[in-house]
């Protein structure tokens, strides 16, 4: 069976879901269920991690979902590391979606602080999934630091614009030796399918589900998009034809 393996752990689903911006916890649960996801990310700043009755945490069945705390809101490495350690101390598994986003407008990740935090967290025993701009060299630096994945953005968070960083993501997919999860900016199932057709290992979606009229139904649509894209990738998409061949022969000398 074709599974996604992150840090030695297997997942059947290639769709990860975020928990922000939902109009109600019922809508959030519907989105999680409709998506078929196995990994759910939660902003540590949003939840009371020590309190099992926290309104969000109480709705996440941890026997079904891997709770992936994220450090959203951290402005530098130090803040991100502190948040991750707090989550682990509260009993979360040592997995962290590393987000260092000092720019409050587009929430774009700071590459320097992200790398710094990743180095510290990996040494600290965390399984680190860093959110990054679609920068192939940064992806390599993080992979070298020991992160479990790289999570390049398709477009800024919440913009629903799709895979706008396509060319850079293609390079990351070509070169990475850890799973590539396209995160942020995917606004439609077709965007998710596009990322998967390109060979991404998984995608993470939040806003598109949270703001849909029917989050449960939209998450089911994303699930199909991810599955369709991945299956098409495995099946081998028909390739765009190269341009016409030049006429001057390069191998004529072999006929002599």
């Amino acid at each position: 069976m074709d599974t996604l393996i992150i840090a030695g752990r297997s997942f059947r689903s290639r769709l990860m879901v975020g928990t922000g911006k939902f109009s109600s916890n019922a809508a959030m649960v519907a989105a999680m269920e409709g998506s078929g996801c196995e990994i759910v990310t939660v902003a540590l700043r949003r939840v009371d991690i020590d309190n099992p009755h926290d309104s969000i945490l109480a709705h996440i069945d941890r026997s079904k979902y891997l709770l992936l705390p994220n450090t959203s809101g951290a402005r530098d490495a130090e803040e991100a590391v502190r948040l991750a350690r707090l989550a682990r101390a509260a009993g979360c598994e040592p997995w962290v979606k590393l987000e260092v986003t000092p720019d409050p407008f587009y929430l774009l990740p700071d590459p320097i602080e992200t790398l710094k935090a990743a180095e510290i967290l990996v040494k600290d025993g965390f399984v680190v999934l860093p959110y990054i701009n679609a920068d192939p060299v940064l992806a390599k630096r993080l992979q070298e630091a020991g992160t479990a994945t790289v999570m390049p953005l398709g477009a800024p968070i919440g913009t629903n614009k799709g895979v706008r960083t396509r060319d850079s993501i293609a390079i990351i997919i070509e070169q990475a030796i850890v799973p590539v999860v396209v995160d942020a900016g995917l606004g439609a199932p077709s965007h998710a399918a596009e990322a998967m057709e390109m060979g991404a290992d998984a995608v993470l979606v939040n806003t598109a589900l949270a703001v849909a009229r029917d989050p449960g139904r939209m998450s089911s649509a994303f699930r199909k998009g991810v599955e369709a894209g991945h299956e098409a990738y495995l099946a081998g998409l028909g390739r765009q034809q190269d341009r016409a061949e030049a006429s001057s022969p390069l191998t004529g000398f072999l006929r002599n």
Binding site: R239, D242, E245, A246, P249, L254
Partner: protein, 373 residues
């Protein structure tokens, strides 16, 4: 993860069968692909691709021009020693061959190097056999220190080392490594290397990783064509290069395709590679690795080298001698093998210009090695 684990996960006879089973449709798909997977690469190496040689060559040519322009980096080998304790059955330096043995003194090395410098070379490849007593790491480091000021780039083609050995040579001023695995077939490797330290297949296979980890800027790999089945060897070479490129992404990769030449000892190629197969192999590797340097030595004939020029080659040697002292003295009885293209560097330069290519003599600088600012 070492490439050794990847290689061990493959069964070479299964690779051969999979390549043989490729169909024209697989070749067409591979020719149209923007990025090749292992099966695409197999298709390009397959017998089915033989009739697509011209489109394959056109694609290889376009990719090379796109990535490198019409330039050829010029380099020359400088043989420092032909003393050797190994028994490689195909090699003129085989310890059992009765050729005159010699290890150059540092003055002799400099004299040889000055001849090459006067011919225009700024990129040198320093070559030895494997003789720890005659030419050890300290000897190589001292030779490099002696030559550093004269040349832009100094590479080595010597015995494999551990990371510490490569660090020592990088500190002395070495920026490139060439190390052929000879064959990726363990059983054949054992047969071809009956005695000597070179018998250790795994140590040799891991050495490029040691060099890259030590910070070597250029890493060259290749298989000696004529030993194993060329399609399988080419597949493994490509896989090896790709493995290194993904993990040691700061190092630039080069691939060579040394085709077996007559050598003292009279060894005959086990699996001769025809010119047609040779072209297919070079073009397939270019499509797999659009950014790799592809190296063509003087083992090949002048006519063939001229024709191979547009197919993907990015660096060439010229006027090479394969015996220690060969550039300053006439006697080449201690040579490793007989070269074919015996044109002078100036003649090769003229040929390149005539074909619209720019010969590049300097494409590196010693300043990269200075760690202080």
């Amino acid at each position: 993860m070492s490439f050794q684990e990847t290689l061990d996960s493959y069964d070479l006879s299964e690779i051969e069968a999979r390549i043989a089973a490729k169909q024209p449709a697989d070749v067409k798909a591979a020719l149209a692909a923007t990025q090749l997977g292992p099966d695409d690469f197999m298709a390009l190496l397959s017998p089915a691709a033989a009739v697509y040689l011209e489109p394959l060559a056109q694609r290889a040519h376009r990719l090379t021009v796109q990535r490198f322009g019409k330039t050829i980096l010029m380099y020359a080998p400088l043989y420092l020693s032909n003393e050797c304790t190994n028994g490689c059955r195909y090699c003129g330096f085989n310890a059992r061959n009765s050729v005159p043995r010699r290890t150059l003194t540092f003055d002799e090395i400099e004299a040889e190097a000055r001849v090459l410098h006067a011919r225009g070379f700024r990129h040198l490849l320093l070559v030895t056999g494997e003789a720890p007593k005659a030419a050890d790491t300290a000897y190589l480091a001292a030779a490099v220190t002696r030559l550093r000021a004269l040349f832009s780039s100094l590479s080595i083609e010597v015995y494999p080392m551990d990371e510490a050995g490569y660090r020592q040579l990088i500190a002395a001023g070495v920026d490139g490594l060439t190390l052929y695995q000879e064959t990726y077939d363990r059983a054949l490797y054992a047969e071809m290397h009956p005695f000597g330290k070179k018998r250790d297949f795994d140590f040799r296979l891991r050495a490029p990783e040691h060099a890259a980890a030590a910070g070597m800027r250029r890493i060259g790999v290749g298989a000696l064509l004529g030993l194993g089945k060329f399609r399988v060897e080419a597949f493994c070479t490509g896989l090896h290069a790709l493995h290194l490129a993904r993990r040691f992404w700061r190092s630039h990769l080069t691939i060579s395709f040394p085709r077996m030449r007559p050598a003292d000892g009279g060894f005959q190629p086990l699996n001769p590679v025809s010119d047609r197969d040779f072209v297919q192999l070079i073009c397939a590797l270019r499509l797999l690795l659009p950014d790799a340097g592809l190296v063509m030595s003087t083992r090949e004939s002048a006519q063939l080298r001229d024709n191979l020029l547009p197919l993907g080659i990015t660096q060439m040697s010229a006027g090479s001698c394969t015996s220690p002292g060969g550039y300053t003295e006439k006697d080449d009885s201690g040579r490793q093998f007989v070269i074919d293209d015996d044109r002078s560097p100036a003649e090769v330069e003229a040929m390149l210009r005539q074909h619209g290519y720019d010969p590049v003599w300097k494409d590196w600088d010693a300043a990269f090695h200075q760690k202080s600012i």
